[in-house]
Symmetry: D2
Subunit: 340 residues, 4 copies
């Protein structure tokens, strides 16, 4: 941490800052420049916020040199983490991109099974589906709850697909862990710290969606919290961010976040083109964009009849379009593997 | 809800849309224009999302005419809601603005009592303080938990101030309800739907902070959820939003949200200048700005020694500055009352 | 245009709105619904802003049905526009993606020629380079001016590459038109209406960069202005937008804008991975992402020694990396052409 | 400027950075820390961009210590600049806030004179009005041009009000200087560097609006450019910024920018509540908010019949509302002066 003093800072103010740093257990190196003094704080800086020093009198600015995340950083763990979901789905590293497909919400056993079969047939390795699904407005369909989990378990049994579903409440965690292979943390809960803490104490793989307006750093710090509690099986999921324009897309797909996360962290990164775009006809081009930038997987909403889906219809692929996309992605992945 | 068809929409597509509307129980009025057909859906539109109709073939666009929130809307409840906290703190309507003051986190009984006394002496009616305080990075101070609640209760007993504290986990709700007069929902939990549902089932007044990047409409819909579960004692709290510039202020103070909320809703609205600006020297001017736009209260972070505060130091007023601000706000409120 | 009246609007207010619409020459279709009246204004709505009707008493909301742009819309011109630059560079439609390469600023004849040769050798069809280059801060290098244009002309002569350079001032337009094959409108000038008007009166192809925080619609309306003045040779250029996070990328690459523009408009769309990311090591993955989503070209900053470039060094590829990327893009384009 | 090297940076890389700094004429102070080396570059850093050093091998990060603006900074000029417009309008310092009022566009001599008289009667010291007014969409009213300037001159003569109007094209500058007392740079031209350069060479006072998505720093750097060319009579104007929510306000009023600019710079700062909110009924509360935070003036759109205004009707006050607001602002300013 670099603490830059004001040009007019007094000796007393400088000493006060040095004392504060020493009180944390960190060491200091002081550079008494011509214009102003710069104090480097050396040690376990990730434990301290810059604001603790910014507030001291005579301080102009405090800059972190080390990234504030540590366990998730590539600095601390050079090789790619491979997350294993269920018995044998491998996400990360040089494994081919994993396709996760399914409905926004589980609506009925019959529809879910139909979807799972098509997903499997198209090469998907995992099934997604929400059982707990409250949305922005109250008084709309909020999911089937435990029944939805049971349908997911049935679909897993029938197809062999691993299952991922969202957890929104610490009280549901044990129940959901019984029924699912991977826990999803939704965008709105990315900084639900109680939930992250509890998930960190399980040994289930986690799909951590990026918050609607979370910086890359906040998102990695949310993962850091899960790892810090003991669970290192975290997969990052970019799902579009909120910007000033949402007229033609629901969110802005931050495709560059894919190579950025791969550079900063050893954790796998997947992409959700359905939520990122909000439009089914943009799912195919953006899925391809993610693949060529090195994504480890895609999570795609599909439904036999998106017009009748109880939620997220406009961004959901029907079976025909999903079959077409699967083939295109397969070819694209093969080409990239060959030209590598 | 107005459903605008494509210029080339077929009769079959138009009929399909009409059928979908009728299936929801709503009625239709069809306007077969020269260029394109427009279908008005009439009824309980707040139960349905526009996306359910956008996805139908031949539909160009769907526009909501009614606001999507209902219980919190001024249309449904003309006169201002007055929320009573503790025995006699009245927030809303023509009541003078309520000052809520206190530390970011409860750190010790001694410090909390010192703060509470100064708050009381300066005319504050309520004491704030976090007992559960996890922050973006793990491995930092996360609050005293139950002990913090006990200290708050002691401070209430000694000063008569009503107490507000944040709840972050449904499992803590009963405990917190025992110790506090008002429940705070933090910005990061504004769309923690499980938490909102449970809070909606209590009879405690609620302070609902606006999410970092929540639209006015999403924020009102979060309040709508609480009212929908039965609790109508909700106070909205603007606390700054995230924009492209955070170099000189932590967030952007959306002061216009104050009169906007007063126009759209009957619920009271307060302002948090500490989080909105992130800088103690901006707390005074922005507090005044909020007062003159008609805010119902202010929630301000104070500490005897902000340099030593365990969190939020840079945005925290020391006692001297808080005393000065209190006097200025008092005069400003009186002037406004006279000139009204 | 759909004008939605307040539920309580009076007959007089409704008639007033109808009169206003008729005064513009448009026709009305009135739908007196159960809850509220909806008036459709039919005619040349792109001439009128919604605000002219929003302000009338008793109006709740005005919604545009037609897109506000007309000449650039695919509705008015179904087939793709192919823009020809210089003698034979074709941008748009099914033509293979055009690579435009060059330095941020023209620095010397020698360096420019070296760059142009490498660009040509790698398959680029056009050379970019700024002659007028003022930047955010004054007192930095601002370009070579006319001399830079002369160097560009020399490089064109020696390599046969077509040349594009930025115009920032209406007074420079004639001079620049003499020396260049295509005019670039920079992001900061996307709504410099005088400049757009004058460019619209030339017959030079135009590269229209998206403004830093321009919506898709504003960007298309800027193009509309150029077409409206008579110049239909406009190429859109996505170059990243400003969002809340710029720590690891300079801007946010809005890759979805590529298929969105292709859907809404007949104009070609290219991508600038250098400005969009601001980091040379992200140029390659984002270039590929743009290619697979159907982009018509890429404009890439290259320099023999980015460390010594007078501007934009961190986002500039050196020759080795550009050679590598060119080959990868070539293969990717071929694969896509085959699998189509 | 602080240049932070990577932990693993080699001696050669460190020396290379030092050489680069020396080549600029700046000096270095090198701090060879335990973990990594930190190099301070000392001298005229505002001439250099951080990117020139960021790109060097082995560099992790470059941080500016000095603000990048210099002439506009309070560090270089402690006392408030007072800008004199026309003969005797004083903006800045402890002068009472100056009210500037007028229509968005000059529409006719008659209407303009009516407006000017009401403005004068209500205590405004200056008249605003656009003569060159192209807007986002082409094919709408674009202003009266020279005729508009003549009407403004007539209104000035009749009322004694000083006049401000927007300049959008370097070619119009001489003409506009003849007719007006102050030059306005619009939000869309805040980074039109040619225009800023030319305005900097005049001796007319300048009203510099903040760009739609300009950071505080970019805005001050635009002013810096004008001062750097020789014109120090610049008034900053906050007019709302673009954020993710524009449903209930056109822009987000960044009220905190007022005290921030006062702290960072010696230049006066005024506020435009009309564009900032886009809603006439929010003009009054936001004007008051600006006043209590220390604004030096307000620029307000007024029109005898906003329903018939050719542009910006919804954000324009009619005479009755402007009279009411003027009185309220007068009282508020007096109160603040007394309680100071």
């Amino acid at each position: 941490m670099i603490i830059i003093m004001e040009p007019g800072a007094t000796k007393g103010q400088i000493q006060n800052v040095i004392d504060h740093v020493h009180n944390t257990g960190m060491k200091t190196v002081v550079n008494s420049g011509v214009i102003q003094t710069v104090i480097a704080a050396i040690g376990e800086t990730s434990k301290y916020s810059t604001e603790q020093f910014e507030i001291l009198e005579g301080v102009r600015k405090v800059e972190r040199i080390q990234v504030p995340f540590k366990l998730v950083s590539r600095d601390s763990h050079h090789s790619d983490t491979i997350v294993t979901v269920g018995k044998n789905v491998k996400i990360g590293g040089d494994n081919p991109p994993v396709i996760i497909a399914g409905p926004c919400s589980v609506e009925s056993e019959e529809i879910l099974l139909a979807i799972a079969k098509v997903a499997k047939e198209c090469g998907a390795k995992m099934l997604r589906g929400g059982a707990f699904k409250p949305r922005t407005g109250p008084r709309t369909f909020e999911g089937l709850g435990k029944l939805g989990l049971e349908f997911l378990a049935t679909a897993r049994k029938e197809t062999g697909l691993a299952v991922v579903t969202e957890v929104m409440d610490t009280r549901d965690l044990d129940l959901i862990c019984e029924f699912t292979d991977m826990l999803q943390v939704g965008a709105r809960n990315m900084q639900n710290f109680s939930l992250l803490n509890e998930i960190g104490k399980t040994n289930k793989p986690v799909l951590l969606k990026r918050g609607l307006s979370a910086t890359i750093e906040e998102w990695l710090l949310a993962a850091e919290r899960i790892l810090d509690k003991g669970n290192s099986q975290v997969v990052m999921c970019e799902r579009g961010i909120r910007t000033f324009d949402n007229k033609y897309t629901r969110n802005t797909s931050d495709i560059a976040a894919i190579p950025v996360i791969r550079k900063l962290s050893h954790l796998p990164i997947i992409f959700d083109p359905s939520h990122a775009t909000g439009k089914w006809d943009l799912v195919a081009p953006l899925s391809k964009a993610a693949i060529v930038t090195g994504v480890h997987g895609l999570i795609i909403e599909i439904h036999p009849d998106p017009e009748k889906a109880l939620s997220d219809g406009p961004q959901t692929l029907n079976f025909e379009n999903f079959r077409k996309l699967s083939k295109e992605l397969e070819k694209l992945s093969q080409t990239l593997a060959i030209t590598k």
